[in-house]
Amino acid sequence: MTTASEPYVLNIGPQHPSTHGVFRLRVVMDGERIQDIDMVVGYLHRSMEKLAEERTYTQNIPFTDRTDYLAAMSNNLGYCLAVERLADVEVPERASYLRVIFAELQRLASHSMANGTFINDAGAWQTPLMYMFREREKILDLFEMTCGARLTTNYMRIGGVAFDPPPEFYPAIESLIDEMPTRIAEYTELLVDNEILIARARGIGVLTAAEAINGSITGPMLRASGVPWDLRKAEPYCAYDQFDFEIPVGHTGDCYDRFMVRLEEMRQSVRIIRQALDGLPSGPHKTEIPLALRPAPGEAYARVEGPRGELGFYVVSDGGPAPARFHIRAPSLINLSLLRQMAVGAALPDAIVTLGSTDIVVGEIDR
């Protein structure tokens, strides 16, 4: 027996526990099945790319913190790399190592958050999230120790990093990365074999490798779909070519693979930090550059492997102290663009889990 039904519109967001920010999904549903999804973005738009044209290159660094506020270090790094490429600034080796350490710490923090909120979306009432927050908190303490800020770090500088870490930083980070593998093992024990999580995430929101590449998906989502692509290997920046690490690659491209890839990347990040700490060279942490940097007219694009994917910064100079044009390739926005493809036809809870597994940060989507 079938009963007559008609589709209705459900607004998920702008205020909703699972949109992770102010972002709205306009979902056309028939019962619990999703017929269409319309993504409405822009609630957090701050016009950063335009504002950047009024400020000097150094003044723009704090803006990059505020795009992806869960991965401020990676954003700082990408922007600084772009400006360094534009102005031909040499970076001391110690600064490169410190950049790697902080970018990887940021990846750990961001992946903790991503996996925690993903499990939260799957319905585990806050517990895994709080566990992962515990480790993230320690990483933010390290940031605070070094640069005084926890979230919007503003740590990288054009030509290096702002501060050398204080002496108490080293024992703290040592104990953290010694502890981290046992913590990751704890998450594995709690979640990886969990029947309910497997039932909720296996085979949900599948993206094949071809679809992911066509959709310009990057980061853990692309790797979960089975494509071994990581900018840290493919186009090493900073000192990544000197470290030994592996790229985790998923099998099916479903939500569960994305979760597992992130978990494995956390292990690899710990490996990289360990090597970078062991090989941390001495020397200056920064090259002195003029306060009002005036690069020769030209353009530069630098990209880094952020926690969410390929984070690109495009800067154009007209010879003045401020960029003539500034653009951010935000992985959150591009990864989100395939949500419709992944979620239409699924049930509402599946769409929420899929959205959680794409790991968006609304500050980066809207910029």
């Binding site: 709080m130 039932a199 790229i247 693979d257 509402l348 809870p349």
Partner: protein, 472 residues
Amino acid sequence: MTAALDPIRAARVPLTGAKLVIGVIALVILAGIAGGVGFLVVSGALDGHWYDLRDLGIPIAHLRGWLDEQNKAQPAQLHDLLGDHWISYLTTALIGAIGILSFVGGVLLVLIWVERRLIGRIQVRRGPNRVGPYGLLQPVADAIKLIQKEVLIPNGADRFLFFLPPILVFIPGLLVWGPVPWAPNMNYLDLNVGVLYLIAISSLATIAIFIAGWSSNNHYALLGAMRTVAMMISYEIPLSMALVAVVLMTGSMQLSQIVQWQADHNVWLGALMPLALFTFFFSSTAELNRTPNDIAEAESEIVAGFRTEYFGMKFGLFYAVELGNAVAVGAFVTAFFLGGWSLFGLEQWIPPYLIFAVKVSSVYFVLVWLRGTLPRFRLDQLMAFAWKYLIPINLANTVLVAIEVTAFNHSSLPGVVSLGAIGVVNLVFTVWVARRWARFLGYRPETEHVLHPSLQTQVGGLRAAERLRASS
């Protein structure tokens, strides 16, 4: 590790003088109460028969006798109309109702705190610890806050129906406490059809929840209500089947008799029939909307489900009833499956209601533990679990239990041997049928389970992806 790296230690508040004084006063008051009660017990107050709360029955019996005398003094027409003992019935009913109300209310105030503290500990945080000693007054503060809130009705809501559900869910929430067997002869409502009563009462809340979802004029609320109704109706069936097994085994629908049977045979029905215990417990979590079956108010999906538009004290009532029902489920799991007030003869020495309370708290603790640990199922998975899995295997279980009971009643073996045999058979059957039926339904853990990501050192594009796919 530096202090900054240990947020818990850094957040620890030093013990100030004022706190110390308050703590000491609270301790003295508690000690005074405990001492007074102890003195009453030891000094043999109340006719010298005072042993525990059960013996409150002595003064109550006196009261009833007196009331019956008053009854006789009534005019004959009233006798004819209302029966011989109407005053005493009315009085005891009122006393019992007030007792249950105050007990449930008091327990709720404590349990809100307990649940939040436990969840806090499970989630490596501290839980409420600011209002009162150890945050014990937090529920009171919450209640005051909820009462103070402005009463708002969403635009387009059906005003009358919108007001109704919080009251409607509260009634079964209290009625369900009637047949709880606290201790021998300590039941408020010892019905001889107690099990039927329970099943009937527990399905009443469904209507209230559906009204709540419909009248709110909100898509989330409607979705939540539809989910709740679907789930509650589905899980009524396995829940009733688990109780059928209990009734078959004990030969009674009276809760006091069910507990008495377990006490007489020195066995817990849960150990005898693990499948029925699991079914009852799991179905109860579905009826309660608790993790892993909290899809009706799945926070990450439909915000708060049927009660999205309810706040203030209306929300408070829903919340209180849900919590009270969780404790009631603890009470019924205890009564049906964990031996009720009996503890292998120890009930002679320990007040039985204490044994009962400890067992109820343990079941409640398991509920909180589950809530703090597990993710949530999807609606269709839950429904499939009820209809395709629980109902068939419980049907088989019912047949098996019926055969066992017949054999048990006709055998001349000593009770220990035959009950032991029943327990072993049921355990083996449970494990076997649970695995076989899952296989039959297509559950293949070895192929579906964990596939760890492969670790690569070479980057590549689509071709590399295809190569990897072919090799795995």
